[in-house]
C-alpha cells in the first residue's frame, strides 16, 4: 500500500474526489442490479395487476412503514456521524455510527419476524400453499423474497461496513481531516435507503 519512494510524511498521495467518484461508480452498478429487478416487477405487475393487489394484502403494512422509518432514521444518524467527525467530535461520531448499526439491526429483526410469519403461513417459494394460487401471486411472492432478500443482504453488509468504520474512527484512521472511508460507507448506506424507498410502496402499499 505505501510504496512511496521518499519516506517523507508530508507527501502522501491522496485523492478523496477520485475515491468518492469510485464509490459512485459502484453505486451505479447497484442501480443496474436493482433497476433490472424493478423492470421485471413492472412487467409482471402490468400483466397480473389484480393478482398483485390480492397478494400484497398478505404483507403487513405496519411493519413495512416501521421499517421505512427505521431506515430513514438510520440514514440521518449516518450523515450526522459524518458531520460529527468533521467537527472533530470523535465520540459523538462513534455514537451516531453505533445508533445506525442498531437501527439496521432493528430493521433486520423486523424482517426476520415478517419472513418467518410468511413461512409459517406456508408462503415461501415453491410451497404448496403458494403453488395452489395463481401465477400472478406466485410471481409477486417470488419477487418479494428475492428483492427484499437482496436488499436485506445489503443491510447486513452495510452493518458490517459501518462496524468497520466505527473501529476506524476509534483508532483514528477516520478523523476530522480524513473521513473518506466513513463518507463512502455513508453513500452505500443511503443507496440502501433509496432502494427501500421504492420497495416499500411497490410491495406494501398496493392493496
Amino acid at each position: 500500500m505505501s510504496s512511496v519512494a521518499e519516506h517523507t510524511t508530508e507527501h502522501v498521495h491522496r485523492d478523496d474526489l477520485g475515491s468518492r467518484m469510485g464509490i459512485w461508480l459502484f453505486l451505479f452498478t447497484e442501480l443496474v442490479l436493482f433497476g433490472g429487478m424493478f423492470l421485471v416487477y413492472a412487467v409482471y405487475r402490468f400483466m397480473y395487476q389484480h393478482e398483485f393487489h390480492i397478494a400484497a394484502k398478505e404483507l403487513n403494512t405496519l411493519i413495512g412503514t416501521l421499517n421505512t422509518l427505521i431506515l430513514l432514521t438510520s440514514s440521518l444518524t449516518m450523515v450526522l456521524a459524518i458531520v460529527a467527525i468533521r467537527k472533530d467530535n470523535k465520540y459523538l461520531s462513534i455514537f451516531f455510527q453505533m445508533v445506525t448499526i442498531l437501527l439496521a439491526f432493528g430493521f433486520m429483526v423486523n424482517k426476520y419476524f415478517e419472513w418467518t410469519t410468511k413461512i409459517h403461513h406456508g408462503i415461501y417459494p415453491g410451497s404448496e400453499t403458494l403453488l395452489a394460487k395463481g401465477n400472478g401471486e406466485v410471481l409477486f411472492f417470488g419477487l418479494y423474497y428475492v428483492m427484499t432478500g437482496l436488499h436485506g443482504l445489503h443491510v447486513l453488509i452495510g452493518m458490517v461496513l459501518i462496524g468497520v468504520m466505527t473501529r476506524f474512527t476509534m483508532t483514528g484512521t477516520v478523523n476530522s481531516d480524513k473521513y473518506i472511508h466513513l463518507e463512502a460507507a455513508g453513500l452505500y448506506w443511503h443507496l440502501v435507503d433509496i432502494i427501500w424507498i421504492f420497495l416499500f410502496p411497490l410491495f406494501y402499499l398496493i392493496t
Binding site: M21, L76, M78, I82, V83, R86, D193, I194, I206
Partner: protein
C-alpha cells in the same frame, strides 16, 4: 460553482461548513412524505395511485441524493455523472414500457 478548478491539493474535502440542522430538517420532510405515501395508499385514485406513490418515492430519493449523499456540495461533474446514470435507467424503463403498454 465559481469556476475554480480543483488543481490544488486542498480541494480533497467537501466544501461548506457542516451543520446538523439541515439534515434533521430533511429527515423530518422524509418522515412526513412517508406518512403521505401511506395515507394516500388507502385512497383509490385508480390508475394514478401507482404514479402518486412513485412520485413521492422520487421526491424522497431526490432529497436523500441531494442532502444525505452530499450531491448539493459536489461539483457539477458529479451531478452530470449521476444524471447520466439515471438517464440510462430511465431510457431502459421507457423502452420497456413502449413494448409492454401496447400488448
Amino acid at each position: 460553482m465559481s469556476g475554480e478548478q480543483s488543481t490544488s491539493t486542498e480541494q480533497h474535502t467537501i466544501e461548506h461548513k457542516p451543520t446538523y440542522g439541515i439534515y434533521i430538517l430533511v429527515w423530518l420532510v422524509l418522515v412526513m412524505l412517508t406518512g403521505v405515501t401511506v395515507a394516500v395508499a388507502g385512497i383509490n385514485f385508480g390508475n394514478i395511485t401507482v404514479a402518486t406513490a412513485l412520485t413521492i418515492a422520487v421526491i424522497k430519493s431526490y432529497l436523500v441524493l441531494t442532502f444525505f449523499m452530499h450531491l448539493k456540495a459536489e461539483s457539477a461533474m458529479f451531478k452530470i455523472f449521476v444524471s447520466v446514470a439515471l438517464l440510462f435507467l430511465l431510457i431502459s424503463i421507457a423502452l420497456l414500457f413502449s413494448d409492454y403498454s401496447f400488448l
